[in-house]
């Protein structure tokens, strides 16, 4: 750009003297040398260049700034598929399967993308119910950490490769392998088994090994001895009047919780107080499990006493001399009483145990046999196949691996390097395996140690089937085309087996249907043509065939010396599975990570549950004087961990408990490094048992930085002994004049929030509550705005009924609500600051005896008050009442004064403190969940899960439960299009459809005689805080327990 013609440096330059020119050249070459030495571009340029560049820069910036922000246009279909109407959801029946977890589901898709999971009422297993895990499974489809293409490890660093490269490498390895092992969790898919058979046909030296992350080996082995098959019975809690559970969390995590919850609840609910009946449920445990929290009586035994406790019951029911020494006297006495009551309920009872000890399980089988429960409440013909893992096989596999005799190991989407008791041995052995292939969904502790990774589909992208119980089948169908270059497990196996699938567009569909054609189609007579059969089954999602034959019980010799002997140690720790995390399978699901634990109400980490006692004066004291959120050193089996504690009411003195499934090291952005891993402590002499008696607990090391617990006050009038030995209301006693020491346990408890009673006092309680209601209604009728309610007598008037006797606290509704309503996840720090955004929460209160309390779960969402205190205080009319009795939020109008939230007596309003939805233009205020690079939801993949019918809220506005107003609109339209009156069944809120027990009923108050109206006739009903005249639209029922007061343990 330089123009030197008219510019000269002095006379010498002007006259072009040679001497000068040489000098100039030298200088130039020197400059060149300098510029080549310096890697930076030389900053040559003169004033004019500067001006030119500046001019261009300013001009360009001006033009660029004047441009429109690129508009992303939604382009209509050129040829619209018949089945897709924009704005109208399609539902497809499918099945959620993850290891042993099973749920028959309907998948809601909008414009071709799955956004919500609903239960399938056609299923005879899950009966329309769902679990939190099922609800959250749709989010994992859009997991940013999932594998997107095949991976190859190069010294532990993974790089991408193509499928053909991978297939070639794997097939080369397989064909030269002397011993091939497939390792998986429980498989309940006939199609997968078929694929493995086909795989075996090609490679004869293949063995399949299955295990379960939380072992059922003991029970399965015992059943094998008693019945000849490694299966679990089909428990029928709907037929059981008396339930004894030895540590089995059958409502939360154990075997088939959705199914059990439904059946269990049917024996717990009552229409009204007249002739009310309910089952009795006794839970024998040390840690308050979710199932235990629903029990009428809890018999407290230390984890190591479980065997002796079973033995005690065995002796009393079956008659025998199983060793019970070391069992605490209270439990002995209580179990003797329980045995008597069980005998009275023979054939109408269930005894279950989570023990992993074969001989203890054999005793349980013998007890059930003696009570003639088999064939009545426990069916072997329709036995459950939801857990079939075999620890013995796993151990021999690990031995072989360590011996170096396994040449190829294919890990089928399981994570033994983390979630089995022998993980350290497994990891050691893995290094001796020549070829290690992981068929995996996302990176985990095992897949990162493998050589090759074959990424697998999400179940929402796959074809498949499942057989959770003998005679019950269900189909899995894809609801979206594969998002990434992944392949479903069966296809991967078949391709490695050399099956040619190149000519088939949907090879797995063909494979599945062929399989069904040959087996199930032949077994039925309803459909004549196969197409008809498979299309109908796909539509329904499920298929029932005749169950298997009844298995007969045969007495197996019980070796009593193998029954666990109670340890004589001061402190024991038990390890338990949580609803949200399993044994770590769900760590990378933010919805589940953020979901507060039903019992502890904590999230984002496993907290050591410690027992609490009342000091007789004004304090609820934790073990070792520890308080909520204190960090503490705990030494288990000689290894020291640092964990934060939570004071757990109902935790047996002398025991503590810590959840499995945390402390993962390879679990993606959300799950890595949250909590501590306790799996290494579960191996005891080759038997997986979920406790340790070798525990020392230190004292407080200070507070955890972000103690994330959403509830600080836990009790509702618990009774305990005061210093004078009198039984007092500890909550009210704790209000004593001791400045500041009362802390959070201390309250006046005569509140109209929840009412609880024993079944035998139900009549009295109903009278008391009705009396209180009458008083409140009288006062409310004296208001100055009379005739106010007349408004809602015409048209719709939406309302809800929540049956506290049906609610087991499982939290499926809370996750469903997050999914339906685009509720953001906020992360550990924000939860610790009580910034959680859940529109629906389940409050949990303990009542009764402080050291062995009962529990009431209280689902709390916006009550849609017809005299709403939030509405009149909003200065800008951002929250208002609809003509149908809904309390509406107008996000666009909301300024964010939070006055409405302050004035909400139910504290259900949530404020967007920061940019939780990552919707702001400037990403300066997006909190991260776990220190990840891109905040959760800031990427397009995660945002695919958003429900397009619900606004994503911006920072600074209030939000809250809308009674799923988008569903109401849809229901109204349906009724209108069909030219009929709306029925309650047309409008179901997300929480209602998610609930496995039917605790939530939504409907129209004005539909007399319909579902909601029927529920409102019960004399157990009450309205929370009725006396403050806010006119809530949500009705609750009195919580009834069937505690036997004479059982004290």
């Amino acid at each position: 750009m330089k123009n030197n013609k008219n510019i000269w440096i002095g006379e010498k330059d002007l006259t072009q003297q040679e001497e000068f020119l040489n000098e100039l050249d030298q200088e130039k070459s020197l400059m060149n040398l300098e510029s080549t030495a310096d890697s930076l571009p030389s900053m040559k340029g003169n004033r004019r260049d500067f001006l030119k560049v500046m001019g261009f820069g300013i001009g360009a910036a001006t033009i660029a700034a004047g441009c429109d922000i690129p508009v992303k246009r939604a382009i209509p279909y050129v040829v619209k598929p018949d089945t897709i109407v924009p704005g109208v959801a399609n539902y497809y029946a499918s099945t959620y399967v993850n290891g042993g977890d099973y749920c028959s589901v309907l998948v809601k898709t909008r414009e071709g993308r799955p956004i919500k999971i609903e239960g399938n009422i056609s299923s005879n297993v899950t009966k329309g119910g769902t679990s939190a895990r099922t609800q959250a499974s749709v989010l994992s489809l859009y997991d940013t950490n999932r594998y997107r293409e095949p991976q190859k490890s190069n010294e532990g660093v993974f790089g991408s490769m193509t499928w053909s490269e991978l297939d070639k490498m794997v097939m080369d390895a397989l064909s030269s392998s002397a011993s091939i092992k497939l390792l998986s969790n429980t498989i309940m898919s006939p199609m997968t088994f078929k694929a493995i058979e086909d795989f075996k046909a090609k490679y004869p030296n293949v063995e399949l090994v299955s295990y379960d992350p939380v072992s059922f080996h003991g029970a399965l082995t015992a059943n094998e001895k008693s019945f000849g098959e490694r299966v679990m019975p089909d428990y029928r809690f709907d037929k059981a009047d008396y339930i004894v559970s030895f540590g089995a969390d059958f409502l939360g995590t154990w075997l088939s919780p959705i199914e059990f919850a439904k059946d269990y609840a049917s024996k717990r609910v009552m229409k009204n107080s007249k002739n009310a009946k309910m089952s009795r449920h006794v839970q024998v445990e040390s840690h308050m499990s979710m199932t235990g929290s629903n029990a009428d009586n809890r018999i407290l035994v230390k984890p190591s006493e479980q065997g002796a406790a079973i033995a005690q019951l065995y002796n009393s029911v079956v008659g025998g001399s199983a060793p019970t020494s070391g069992l605490n006297e209270k439990a002995k006495e209580a179990l003797t009483k329980v045995a008597q009551q069980l005998k009275q309920n023979a054939g109408k009872s269930i005894v279950v145990s989570a023990s992993n000890n074969v001989d203890e399980q054999l005793m349980v089988n013998a007890i059930n046999q003696a009570l003639s429960n088999y064939g009545n409440t426990m069916m072997m013909a329709s036995a459950s196949l939801q857990r079939t893992g075999d620890d013995a096989k796993l151990m021999s596999l690990i031995k072989e691996m360590n011996a170096g005799s396994v040449s190829t190991l294919v890990v089928l989407d399981c994570n033994p390097a983390y979630d089995c008791a022998y993980s350290s041995d497994f990891v050691k052995g893995l290094s001796k395996v020549k070829t290690k292939v992981a068929v995996s969904y996302s990176a985990n502790e095992t897949s990162v140690l493998c050589d090759l990774v074959a990424p697998k589909h999400h179940y929402l992208e796959s074809w498949g089937d499942a057989m959770p119980k003998k005679g019950s089948y269900s189909l899995i169908q894809p609801t979206i085309a594969p998002l990434f270059s992944t392949r479903q497990t069966e296809e991967t196996l078949l391709r490695w087996a050399g099956v040619d699938m190149s000519s088939d567009e949907q090879p797995m569909y063909s494979y599945l249907t062929n399989n069904w054609k040959n087996s199930l189609f032949a077994s039925q007579s309803k459909y004549l043509s196969f197409d008809n059969f498979i299309n109908n089954t796909l539509h329904d999602g499920v298929f029932m065939s005749a169950p298997g034959s009844e298995l007969s019980y045969s007495e197996a010799g019980i070796n009593f010396s193998n029954v666990t002997k109670p340890a004589n140690s001061e402190l024991e720790v038990s390890f338990f599975e949580t609803i949200a995390q399993g044994n770590g399978e769900y760590s990378n699901n933010p919805w589940l990570m953020e979901m507060s634990d039903p019992v502890a109400r904590t999230s984002w980490g496993n907290y050591l549950a410690i027992p609490v006692h009342f000091d007789g004066y004004n304090k609820m004291v934790g073990l070792n004087d520890l308080d909520d959120g204190d960090l503490v050193n705990i030494t288990i089996n000689g290894k020291e961990l640092t964990v934060a504690v939570v004071k757990q009411f109902g935790q047996m003195p002398g025991t503590v408990a810590l959840a499995l499934g945390y402390g993962r090291t390879e679990a993606g952005d959300c799950g890595t490094g949250i909590g501590v891993d306790v799996n290494p402590f579960t191996n005891q002499n080759g038997n997986t048992s979920y406790y340790s008696a070798d525990v020392q607990l230190g004292s407080s090391l200070g507070k955890e930085k972000h103690y994330s617990c959403v509830q600080y006050h836990h009790t509702y009038g618990v009774k305990a002994l005061d210093n004078d030995g009198n039984m007092v209301n500890a909550d009210e006693q704790a209000l004593g004049m001791a400045y500041g020491q009362a802390g959070y346990q201390g309250a006046l408890t005569d509140r109209s929030v929840v009412y609880t009673t024993n079944l035998k006092d139900l009549g009295e309680e109903v009278e008391k509550v009705q009396e209180k209601r009458k008083d409140a209604q009288f006062l409310n009728s004296k208001q100055i705005y009379r005739g106010f309610d007349a408004k809602y007598e015409n048209g719709h008037h939406w309302g809800m009924h929540v049956d506290l006797n049906a609610c087991i606290g499982c939290g499926a509704c809370t996750v469903a609500c997050m999914a339906e309503n685009n509720v953001p996840v906020v992360g550990k720090k924000e939860v610790s600051r009580h910034h959680e955004m859940a529109w629906l929460r389940i409050d949990r209160y303990f009542y009764g005896e402080l050291e062995n309390p009962n529990t009431v779960y209280h689902p709390m969402m916006c009550q849609h008050c017809d005299n709403a205190p939030c509405e009149n205080v909003c200065p800008v009319n951002a929250t208002s009442h609809s003509t149908e009795g809904l309390n509406q939020m107008t996000y666009n109008r909301c300024v964010g004064t939070r006055y409405c939230a302050n004035n909400c007596p139910y504290k259900v309003r949530r404020f967007n403190w920061l940019d939780y939805t990552t919707a702001d233009i400037f990403p300066v205020n997006q909190p991260t969940l776990n220190g990840e690079k891109t905040p959760f939801g800031a990427d397009d993949l995660t945002r695919m899960v958003l429900n397009p019918d619900v606004t994503v809220r911006v920072r600074g506005v209030i939000e809250k439960c809308s009674f799923c107003v988008q569903r109401l609109q849809e229901g109204k339209l349906t009724a209108k299009k069909e030219g009929r009156k709306l029925r309650d069944a047309d409008v179901k809120s997300a929480c209602q459809t998610a609930c496995p027990t039917g605790a939530i009923t939504f409907g129209d108050f004005n539909n007399k005689g319909d579902v909601l109206d029927t529920k409102l006739q019960s004399d157990l009903n009450y309205i929370a805080l009725e006396e403050i005249n806010v006119r809530s639209s949500v009705t609750y029922t009195i919580k009834v327990n069937n505690r036997d007061e004479s059982i004290t343990a």
Binding site: A747, L748, W913, P927, G956, I958
Partner: protein
């Protein structure tokens, strides 16, 4: 000025001042270079102000999440500070309006500064409703202006909206009142000034000439404004108290709040006037105009209002017990012995015990003690608002939702920043306007100057 003054009245202007001396004493601070203490004070105030503005910017930029409020406690330091500042403003209005109507001559020594304080306090207060919201950029939704959204009007049922009107009215009337008083004084400053300064003050004084007609109109306007402002003394804090009283939250939902808040506001306002004036009179050598007599009078007001506040506290406790309503009872248990017991204790000590010391005359007239106690009262009244707002919200109906709250550096920064704003404005005020109303002091000189009344009087009333 031949009004009869009782011989037992203490003089309100001491030092045998002449009219000229008064002018010299009161105008000179605006004419001299500021002294070192002023400069240091100004730098500190300006620093705090800057930090406060940064914290406000941070709040708006990042979000209310920079504060530690939570799902249970939606208001904390923000509204506590708001109510506190509004309360402080009340003394100025009381002095200028009600005491004017009651012809209390001692008001003249302090009314100018007190009114200035009112305005600055209201400015500080008005910041909080604007920035405590989640979306500060749409606060204009508060105002009832014609718009294209329907039009949507604000919700006239909402006490927050009443606040908007109450505070804007209050600010307007207070500003008018203050400025009206300043007009003749600005003229006095102008008369002594030359050049540009003369022009500026001439404009500020609206060309005041001091004619009889001017004085007559000025007197009438003052009276009219006093009449307007008098109900405001009662109404503003009454409406602020409605923010709480009209709610359903136990501890807020109470009919005692309006009088209790008004008494509290005057109480805290006088405490702040004392804090300021005790420093001002010392620094600007105004001991002859703000005498012990003035201080004692204000201490008497503090004693009265402090006692009213104390009775209100005890009444609340009594009603909680008497109502036998568990939520109300628990709300007060919670205040006294709950996790925030220290703030209740601080409030009770500072607001109930402290003012009772003023029953003793010598203590009322003790400057050191008065200064110390006035600070305590300011703290106590801040605690009162904190107790009412944060403590009440922390634990209401549903035990499941109880929570705890402590402020972040941003919240503390904003509070400190408003103190910076307040003092920056006040210090500037002392440099541009006479801190004591010259015209009004001159008006009472003949009836309350120490050469006319009291022990050392040399001119005696002939009547």
């Amino acid at each position: 000025m031949s009004v009869h003054v009782s011989p037992i009245r203490e003089p309100l202007v001491t030092g045998h001042k002449t009219y000229h001396q008064i002018t010299e004493d009161l105008v000179s601070p605006t004419e001299k270079m500021p002294n070192l203490s002023w400069v240091i004070g100004f730098i500190i105030s300006l620093t705090l102000l800057t930090f406060g503005l940064f914290c406000i910017f941070w709040t708006i930029w990042v979000g209310i999440g920079t504060w530690d409020l939570n799902r249970t406690i939606g208001w904390g330091w923000d509204i506590t500070n708001f109510v506190w500042w509004i309360g402080i403003g009340h003394a100025g209005t009381l002095i200028s309006a009600i005491l004017l109507l009651f012809r209390q001559k001692w008001r003249t020594g302090v009314n100018r500064a007190a009114e200035a304080m009112t305005i600055f306090a209201v400015i500080c207060a008005a910041i909080f409703p604007g920035i405590h919201v989640g979306r500060a950029w749409v606060v204009f939704y508060f105002f009832p202006y014609p718009n294209t959204r329907g039009p949507i009007w604000p919700n006239f049922n909402s006490p927050l909206l009443w606040d908007v009107f109450a505070i804007s009215t209050y600010f307007t009337v207070s500003l008018l009142f203050w400025y009206t008083g300043l007009v003749p004084d600005f003229a006095t400053v102008r008369d002594r000034a030359k050049g540009l300064r003369n022009k500026i003050y001439n404009t500020l004084s609206f060309g005041w000439k001091g004619s009889a007609k001017h004085w007559q109109r000025w007197e009438s306007l003052s009276l009219v404004l006093a009449g307007l402002a008098t109900p405001l003394v009662l109404s503003v804090h009454t409406i602020v108290s409605f923010d709480f009283a009209t709610s359903v939250i136990p501890g807020w939902h109470t009919t005692i709040f309006p009088p209790y808040f008004v008494a509290g506001a005057i109480f805290s306002g006088f405490a702040m006037v004392l804090t300021l004036m005790l420093v001002t009179r010392k620094v600007l050598n105004l001991e002859d105009y703000i005498t012990i007599e003035h201080i004692e009078s204000m201490n008497k007001v503090i004693l009265l209002t402090g006692t009213i506040v104390g009775i209100a506290y005890l009444t609340e406790l009594f009603i909680a017990w008497y109502s036998q309503y568990p939520y109300e009872q628990f709300a007060f248990f919670n205040r006294a012995v709950g996790p925030y017991w220290w703030s209740y204790f601080g409030m009770m000590f500072c607001n109930v015990i402290t003012p009772q010391l003023f029953w003793k005359k010598s203590w009322r007239r003790n400057i050191t003690l008065t200064f110390f106690l006035s600070i305590l009262i300011n703290i106590g009244m801040w605690f009162e608002r904190f107790v009412i707002i944060a403590t009440t919200l922390a634990r209401d109906y549903l035990p499941s939702s109880w929570s705890y709250y402590s402020p972040t550096w941003v919240e503390i920064g904003i509070f400190v920043g408003t103190i910076g704003i307040f003092f920056t404005l006040y210090l500037l005020f002392t440099r541009v306007a006479p801190v004591v109303a010259i015209a009004e002091i001159k008006a009472i000189l003949k009836s309350s100057g120490d050469q006319y009344v009291g022990k050392n009087a040399t001119h005696h009333d002939e009547h």
